[in-house]
Point group: C2
């Protein structure tokens, strides 16, 4: 496991990924932009319409059995055929964060089946989670997904299942940004 890696998402007029839609699911939206640049590692001051930052870090709810099941089939980012992406910043409520670890875990997996649902969509969808609750950012998490165009339907189905779960009762802000690259 490497050191935690800071990742900055700069929305503006340059970048490999073109934004195709920006949709607020809950709470206020983010300003639409033309393109997104993703910078890993040390922060570099960049002109942007908006920038969100998060850290790739250790998992918080995943058991060893779940981690091994995920590791066996999860694809890496950057697959040549994965020309569609989704960038979904989420903020959970203070009620969520006031829960104890066992209560959050029970909602996350035993009742909402977050990992179990996600597993059934692998290896079609690649995912990377970035933590930002401790960074003073407007969101708690930034999730980045990559998939081939023919798997967009499967991705919508995955999102619909998660959004219908008990875990999502605690989501107070969510923006769904879709992107494409050549």
């Amino acid at each position: 496991m490497p050191q935690p890696t800071l990742v900055s998402f700069h929305a503006g007029i340059s970048g490999q990924w073109a934004l195709t839609s920006v949709r607020a699911m809950r709470g206020t939206t983010l300003e639409p932009a033309e393109r997104l640049t993703i910078v890993e590692g040390r922060e570099i001051p960049t002109r942007s319409l908006w920038t969100l930052r998060g850290v790739v870090s250790n998992s918080r709810y995943t058991t060893r059995a779940e981690a091994d099941a995920l590791a066996a089939i999860q694809p890496s980012l950057g697959r040549i055929e994965a020309t569609r992406a989704a960038f979904i910043p989420i903020k959970k409520s203070s009620g969520w964060w006031a829960l104890a670890q066992d209560e959050r875990r029970a909602i996350y997996e035993e009742r909402s089946r977050h990992t179990s649902i996600g597993l059934t969509y692998l290896p079609r969808i690649a995912r990377r989670l970035h933590h930002c609750r401790e960074l003073g950012e407007p969101f708690d998490f930034l999730t980045w997904f990559e998939f081939a165009p023919q798997n967009e339907g499967a991705f919508e189905e995955l999102l619909a299942k998660l959004r219908a779960s008990e875990e999502w009762w605690y989501v107070e802000r969510e923006v769904d940004i879709r992107l494409a690259r050549p």
Copy 2:
């Protein structure tokens, strides 16, 4: 539960707390200084010999039953009689962070009794944990303890028990800084 709060610990020549000792338990030490200033909230550029930052955030291992047991007897910081303090920055190994949540929890509590041991020293010792693994800081946690002079022996006993636990096999850097105020 309030928003996560950034706390900065500035070591230098000013501050309410006088440093009485700086001792590296594992790994490299921190430079001795005369005094420590603790700033809560937004960062203010401050001249210091060294500054460490962390965020008061949600707990990661504590169950509801444990959280309730702690809440019932844990004292707050700033008690008039608590004129002694310890500031203990800790960095855990990459091996720790590569463990899954259930593995870390089992070491933390079921095998090392971190919370159970701590509970037996309450309400004599006040404690606040600051997370900094995601901030790009040299440590993963900063723990701040406050107690009355007559409870210093109890505090040493608490530390000795934790340092003898399996959890401490994963500590790769630890500095033990003691402080006093009038």
